[in-house]
């Protein structure tokens, strides 16, 4: 899990400017910078977590994100990681079922905090279809990698879908119809996380 989180941090850092650029187009241009700052802080704590269970690692990750990212992404992703961590408390391995549970908890946390649903041009438009695909695959008996690959594809489609819709949550909602045609930064960062998870699992 530590390696996966480091890989996610590296990916976010790599895409920092792009995420900021996306946020700049429809909102306030801080998503990339803030996410990178948060994952830098996470990385600084990871080595000390060696040997800890997945649940603890994810919980620490969530708390660190909450206290360093700020904005909307801080509490949303922070809560998501904390909830996923709570679900995986005590585990040192993660199978398909665990990932389904963790993602479900994460999405639940995001919805509890942000009170959004799919179709509002948020990270949920990447995460929810990904969750559905993952769950379907795992329940159909596919192995974790195959099911996750489908989930990543669904997230990618979700990111594409955000271009076609109007934001009704978050700062991008203030510009109304003018948000149509632009890709949601939060959905994009969510896709990167899933994609990196797949590549490193």
């Amino acid at each position: 899990m530590i390696d996966i989180l480091k890989a996610i941090a590296a990916k976010i850092d790599e895409e920092k400017d792009y995420l900021t650029e996306l946020d700049n187009e429809i909102a306030d241009g801080d998503h990339g910078v803030n996410m990178a700052k948060g994952f830098d802080a996470v990385v600084a704590k990871l080595d000390a977590m060696a040997g800890k269970d997945i649940g603890s690692i994810l919980k620490t990750t969530g708390m660190t994100l909450v206290s360093t990212v700020g904005g909307s992404a801080g509490p949303l992703y922070g809560t998501a990681f904390m909830k996923a961590g709570a679900k995986l408390a005590g585990k040192n391995e993660m199978d398909g079922k665990d990932l389904v549970d963790a993602l479900e908890a994460a999405i639940g946390g995001i919805q509890m905090r942000g009170k959004a649903t799919t179709g509002e041009k948020t990270m949920l438009d990447a995460l929810c279809p990904a969750f559905d695909a993952l769950k379907e695959g795992i329940e159909a008996g596919e192995d974790l990698k195959d099911a996750l690959a489908k989930a990543v594809k669904a997230a990618e489609d979700g990111v594409e879908y955000t271009k076609t819709i109007k934001a009704t949550k978050g700062r991008a909602s203030y510009i109304g119809d003018r948000s149509i045609g632009h890709q949601d930064p939060g959905a994009t960062s969510a896709f990167y996380m899933l994609e990196t998870l797949l590549a490193n699992i």
Binding site: D28, S67, G74, A167, T168, G170, S173, G176
Partner: protein
């Protein structure tokens, strides 16, 4: 990006240090971060805490002091502060009478403040919050996260601050804050974008004959892009929208003609000249006017107009003494 700064990562910290050094008798910075509190904590009153992203100077740190806020939390530029920083501010100013947080209506701000308030309550601190949403620009606010909190927030600080200073209860201070929120409306525009230090380039590009109408205070584009027109015509457009939203006719109002940070005072006075003529003609009585940079978007050039309906209670609190770096009365 052309800015008078040092390292981008130090902008918020140096800014807060510079603010506190400008008024060391009034302000103190907490060691834990970019949090400003009164130099001399006052007991026996409801403590007011506000905050939000940096980039809105003098908001909010400039409004800490007698008659207004007790503490202010500054996040990264245009980014709501994190719950732990807000929690530290609440802890530092909390009194037996409780703490009221004044939060501008943004998803991030509300989530972070709510988490901090939960943490404070867990520690036995009496804490509550109000959400300011004075911006009438957003069209179908029912289908968004609602209206944004913008320059009207300063009047919430002023009036709730005055009542808190008198020793009123948390419930009373919250009620008067909500009364201000119910009666205050704002709309803004810009002729240039601003540049977030970390982004390094402007939030949008405007041609020489273009402007953005219905902007917020976070460098985002407005609700529409229009051809630039004379100041009076722009002010009229904003005032029409504001006075359509709630009824101001026959009422007494406080007016803010607020600069977005890069607007010369000359232009704000020119706008104010029209605002007064417009309100006179509409039968709206002007009780007092504030012209200046009260709630800004870094170096954006543009302005917003705020109207607050006043009754006798609000008038007397509006007039009460305030002694803060950015607002004295």
């Amino acid at each position: 990006m052309k800015k008078l700064i040092n390292e981008v990562v130090n902008v918020e910290e140096e800014m807060i240090l510079g603010l506190v050094k400008s008024a060391p008798d009034k302000l103190r910075k907490l060691d834990c971060g970019t949090v400003v509190v009164r130099a001399n904590k006052k007991e026996g009153k409801v403590a007011l805490v506000s905050g939000g992203g940096s980039g809105h100077e003098p908001a909010h740190g400039g409004y800490v002091g007698e008659g207004m806020l007790d503490g202010a939390v500054a996040g990264a530029v245009f980014t709501s502060p994190t719950p732990d920083q807000i929690y530290e501010a609440i802890k530092a100013v909390a009194t037996d009478k409780g703490v009221l947080c004044i939060v501008k209506n943004y998803t991030g701000d509300i989530m972070n403040f709510e988490m901090a308030i939960d943490m404070a309550k867990d520690e036995g601190i009496k804490a509550d919050y109000v959400v300011v949403n004075d911006d009438v620009a957003v069209k179908d606010s029912l289908y968004t996260t609602g209206r944004r909190g913008v320059a009207g927030t300063v009047l919430v600080h002023k009036i709730a601050g005055a009542l808190a200073e008198k020793g009123a209860s948390l419930e009373e201070v919250k009620a008067v804050a909500e009364k201000v929120i119910a009666n205050v409306r704002t709309m803004g525009m810009a002729i240039t974008a601003c540049t977030m230090p970390a982004a390094g380039k402007p939030g949008f590009e405007l041609a020489d004959n273009e402007m953005e109408i219905g902007i917020g205070i976070h460098g985002e584009p407005g609700t529409s892009r229009e051809a630039l027109k004379p100041a009076n015509a722009i002010a009229e457009e904003l005032l029409n929208k504001i006075t359509d939203d709630i009824d101001f006719v026959g009422k007494e109002v406080a007016v803010i003609v607020n600069g977005m940070g890069g607007t010369p005072l000359m232009e704000l006075y020119i706008v104010n000249n029209f605002v007064h003529d417009y309100l006179d003609k509409k039968g709206i009585k002007i009780y007092d006017t504030m012209v200046g940079n009260y709630m800004t978007s870094i170096e954006m050039a543009g302005f917003s107009i705020t109207l607050l309906r006043l009754d006798d209670e609000l008038k007397s609190l509006y007039n009460a003494k305030a002694d803060t770096p950015a607002l004295k009365r």
